[in-house]
Amino acid sequence: MIYAFLTLWIVGALLIIRESKIIRMIIYLGIFSLISSVCFYMFGAPDVAIAEAAISVFSTVFFIVCFEKHFGLAVGVSDVTPESAENRTNLKKYIPPVVFTIFLFVLFIFFIPENPANSYLKDQYLSLFSRDVGGENSVTSIYLGYRVYDTLFEALMLLVGIVSVTHLSRYCETSVKEGKPSDINRADIAVFTIRVICPVMLLFGIYLILNGHISPGGGFQGGAAIASFFVCRYMIYDIYDIPIERIIMVEKIIYVVVVLLAVLFIFIGLHSFLPLPQSVYLITMNLLIGAKVTCGLIIIFYRFIAFERR
């Protein structure tokens, strides 16, 4: 059963590689994300699967907005082909994926999870996380406790990406001031139903963030769910009244607070002095990371939609 999904996974990846039309590539990428999240569920990693679902939505949205801006009107119906992909021989396209697939199979055969050298660290983490960091979801305890360096650098990478997007994208203030309406022809029934769906997304994001230390979920997944609320908002109302400069400031301040909290609680060990339960640290960090991810995705989305409009 699980081998069927793994085979489908590899087939989806090969489809994306050998396709040369952009809009088909985006659709194949969505299917690949769906199948890979099923594989993650079957391997017992619901945190990763939720993150994959959120990433699939946002990668689809960002890719389609970007390519539509870059290739103009031709991307949709007429299936534009980039010129660089045409003159390549077909055989060379297949060599890297085939080599990579063989490598994966060899790795899959030789990697045995029951090897004692592999399970030593896992046993130590699983037996000690409740005492060291607190919380009931061991994944949250690991990425906010033992591996807090990784979390800080991921947050920094997101911040760097946002700064580069705002720096490199074309700034056109007049179209934002005038509130130039796009020519999207919205269906009334879709607008009504999205209005019903929007609060569910918002509620689900808050639920994921606040329950991040008990159930699967956490800051990134909840933040992406809340940011998808703003994607829905764009599909309902055609207004760009998001104060982007202020949101960038808020995000930088939140990043500083995240670094300060991690340094105070993990490196200095403040929770041993204070009479607080340990889950306060986890909930606060999840809330801050969720707010940061929400701000970042909102900035990238509205920057692409509004500021890059020709």
Partner: protein
């Protein structure tokens, strides 16, 4: 359960339809169908191991798939004037 053996067959057939589908909207339709099948697989998985929290994620998968389908079709519809028929 037998669902786990039947749904991959459907998925393979949908993917073949997506590959040979003549227009963009055929592929979009196939993506929508694949998203529904993924939701059903997650439900069957939750039912097999009695994991109630997976149903929340099935709900959010449904909504995420809906959002991406609607977004792609809105942006394809916007290309009405320049595209060929």
């Amino acid at each position: 359960m037998y669902i786990f053996w039947i749904i991959p067959v459907f998925l393979i057939l949908y993917i073949i339809r997506i590959i040979i589908g003549p227009s963009v909207w055929d592929r979009l339709l196939g993506m929508n169908l694949v998203a529904t099948k993924v939701v059903i697989i997650i439900i069957a998985f939750a039912s097999l191991y009695e994991l109630t929290y997976l149903l929340d994620f099935a709900i959010v998968y449904e909504i995420f798939g809906f959002i991406s389908t609607i977004f792609i079709s809105l942006f394809l519809m916007e290309r009405k004037k320049g595209g060929k028929k």
